[in-house]
Symmetry: C2
Subunit: 513 residues, 2 copies
């Protein structure tokens, strides 16, 4: 076996955090903006987010939701209505206090003291309160329910320590908000949207997530129940990749979302909310990236196939481009994974090898190089991003199908790769969840013993109040958190590793992003 010279400087096993940053730079996905806590999402990173938006939006609309748009600014008083909610968010919000600038004494601009707002405005960290106000206006009768809304928007939560895609002061997301006649319907909807997230994560992003309920201490501020999908990153940490909340009547009461029921009585609506953000792009990187850069699951790849003619700045280039254009047109006319195939013919100036490695680092699923000899032989040189290396030679594992064959087989390759990435993620997840640890001391030993200890599934008695606080503290000492109570966990058959009482649930413990 020959040595492979990988495309990145930093390997995952050497420094996972630094590797993550290198992927983002090497794949040209995002960069620091110079504005505190905010990033610039560059075309390749944004293109992946656009694909996510399209696919998730289709799923959200298919479950009967309409998109709408609500103001970015929330009056302070409005925000303060729901007690737990304000407690949870008040510490980290951008506050608008003035609506005009004037020249200052040193010639620069300063906020105009005469343009101070009577009531400061908060840049939305989430929109429960402002959408609750609208729902209160729109809901009069049981006939108006369920009311199912979704918004694609930017939100701001002031963050002291930021990490690109995972934690930024401004981020992009969708937030769904629904109102229902009763708890049963609202809870059912909370789980339906959790399932939408699970299906999106698994089927579109090949993530292999675990869906389950968050413990009480991890609930969204103001929620009665919070559910999540958790994804395992390649360093064994967990990433909360989407949450769905049953809000009871808390926000309905705060905003006055009341309706006349079938018997003519006034009743409070039960509401839900659920959100999924650009953080998911970070999850895709840490699940599918390798030591050569990103590997984008074909369903969300902005370009699924990139064709690279090996141009030499000579008259022969024209015939080569024609040869490639025929292939491009053939591929563009095909479907892959149920959508028109997305193919790019890259004729930009630059050396072919440099361009190849750019696309490898970006993670384009299929790269097709075409040189003069390929053209003479009627073939192309095809590289699958998920099978990049020939380990025997240490060189890229090019195949050389006939051009016509490549034109017909790429859709199957893409479907195969989409499934292969999911299978890899599922295998890694399942191999790295440890079960059967008898007590907390064993859990401590497990996490101390290994650099990539993965997750641990334990049984617990679902303590609340002070007893839960105690559990949270014990976990915190090891930087561990309870991720969720997996919906498809096995039945309990033992005692709680924290309290020794009979167990009632299984929970996942992990370090997390």
């Amino acid at each position: 076996m020959s040595t492979i010279r990988h495309a990145l400087q930093i390997k995952r096993e050497d420094d996972f955090a630094a590797w993550y940053q290198e992927v983002i730079t090497a794949a040209d996905m995002a960069e620091e903006s110079g504005v505190r806590g905010c990033m610039v999402i560059k075309p390749w990173g944004y293109g992946i987010w656009e694909r996510m938006q399209r696919l998730l939006d289709d799923r959200i609309k298919a479950t009967g939701h309409d998109n709408a748009y609500f103001p970015i600014f929330i009056p302070l008083s409005n925000f303060a209505r729901e007690a737990e909610h304000v407690e949870g968010f008040a510490k980290e919000m951008a506050v608008v206090t003035h609506h005009r600038l004037i020249a200052g004494e040193d010639g620069g601009l300063v906020p105009d003291p005469e343009a101070r707002l009577e009531e400061p405005l908060v840049v939305r960290p989430t929109s429960e309160t402002i959408i609750g106000d609208a729902m209160a206006r729109w809901v009069q009768s049981w006939r108006d329910l369920p009311l199912k809304l979704n918004q694609w928007a930017n939100v701001v939560r002031w963050e002291m320590r930021t990490r690109m895609f995972l934690r930024t002061s401004e981020f992009l997301w969708q937030e769904g908000h629904t109102a229902h006649v009763d708890a049963a319907e609202a809870k059912e909807h909370t789980l339906r949207m959790l399932e939408v997230y699970r299906a999106f994560a698994d089927e579109d992003l090949s993530l292999a997530v675990v869906a389950g309920e968050k413990p009480e201490n991890e609930r969204f501020p103001g929620a009665v129940e919070t559910w999540s999908i958790e994804a395992m990153m390649q360093d064994g940490k967990a990433l909360q990749a989407g949450t769905s909340h049953y809000l009871g009547t808390n926000f309905a009461e705060a905003s006055g979302i009341r309706y006349q029921d079938r018997e003519g009585q006034q009743a409070l609506a039960h509401t839900t909310s659920w959100g999924l953000s650009t953080r998911m792009v970070g999850g895709v990187i840490m699940t599918h990236g390798d030591d050569d850069g990103l590997r984008v699951p074909p369903r969300v790849a902005p370009w699924q196939v990139v064709i690279l003619p090996m141009l030499r700045d000579k008259p022969e280039d024209e015939a080569l481009i024609d040869y490639c254009e025929t292939l491009r047109a053939t591929l563009a006319g095909q479907s892959a994974l149920g959508e028109p195939l997305r193919v790019q013919l890259d004729t930009r100036p630059g050396k072919a090898a440099a361009k190849r490695w750019d696309w490898v680092r970006k993670g384009a699923p299929v790269i097709i190089e075409v040189g003069g000899r390929d053209m003479e032989n009627g073939v192309v040189s095809l590289l699958r991003r998920d099978r990049l290396w020939d380990t025997a030679t240490g060189k890229p594992a090019f195949e050389t199908p006939l051009r016509e064959v490549a034109g017909q087989t790429v859709p199957d390759i893409l479907a195969d790769m989409q499934a292969a990435l999911l299978a890899q993620a599922r295998e890694r997840r399942d191999a790295n969840i440890t079960r059967g640890l008898a007590d907390f001391a064993e859990v401590e030993r497990h996490f101390a013993a290994s650099r990539y200890p993965g997750w641990v599934e334990v049984q617990w008695s679902k303590p609340t109040g002070a007893a839960l606080d105690d559990v949270v503290e014990r976990l915190k000492a090891h930087r561990l958190t309870i991720r969720n109570v997996p919906m498809d966990a096995a039945p309990v058959d033992g005692s709680c590793i924290f309290t020794g009482e009979p167990a009632t649930e299984r929970v996942l413990l992990a370090k997390a992003y």
Copy 2:
């Protein structure tokens, strides 16, 4: 001819401004949010915007642009770099001064004095400066040019007098930003994007706009040239519906967008920017609305066909819904105007007649009602929104094709309606541009004499400086503005109506939104 009882309370000719507001309410498009200057865009209004986004985004991508995302916050110092730019915007911006709230003395929340930002942040009114910073990092060599970016985003310009969709403090838009090697290429691109807007407005929104250059006094702050598309509303006023700017090297200099040219010399890039916003939704209302509500051009209608079974809350309903579902499936399998047809089967509770008028007011292009008798006869009752009334009877002009025929002919009806709306807009525009007025006194008489005077095309000598200020003042006295210099105007053949000097251009004068 019988009297028609229209679906709105207010007629266009009685009070156009009040009619506009009634359409927005009656079509359930948007409403005041309770947050100063911000509106809530409701599902039907947002659905039209989403369709606009999809169609315009396709056109922007087809011209080689990538979407990206830049921070919502702009540091004050950054914003102040381009002198004219800050002069143009400094008066109306939302300023973030704090990043945390704490409990105030009266128990409410107040900005935490200890969390005052060292440098205030401005909520972007437009992104030239922050994108300019990124371009300066990304552009090194002529090989990096042209750099063609687009962003879909919310922006904020503090407005004292607001009107829904037309002028709100927060609005949604796309802003394109490009950098080029020289003035020729940048100017060519400015016009290419103007043409993209024109084609989008005419072909997708049936607006019949006039493309041309804005006069010096109407330029974007910091621009060298500003071009616009102007649409004529039904009250004869103009709506600036999209603008494209050649920015020269002004922003490149302010941000330092320099590149090494083919000869190895450092040079400043030439940049462009261009934007189109949710204001366009207001333009569609004021162009295509009638006394029964909105008429949505089929290309941007969220639902192009709505099927309304006349349900009676009885067991027979099931057969009726099945009958309608067959039609829905037939239509959903078809293409209209080059895309899958968008059809909605509306089985919500409520009286059929009330639901019909809801959809008429919303402007769904085709409404298909199906009652028990229709089903017995194998037909449907089809209503075209652009031919709503049978003027002989004063009743809705239902046709009753066989269900199978309706299933096949709706795509043609939609294409026909898209073209008919454009033809109407074009006819109205062309009939309401007055030419040949000899001097400014005639212009004054023209605008004084009529309630809907439309636009006037006059010849002028393109005065600048104080002479232009004088022209602007004279027009202002009649609430008139120069809209643009139409690209396809006839050659000049006379003298300037303002200065008496030989004319060099033809310009459009109008009242405007």
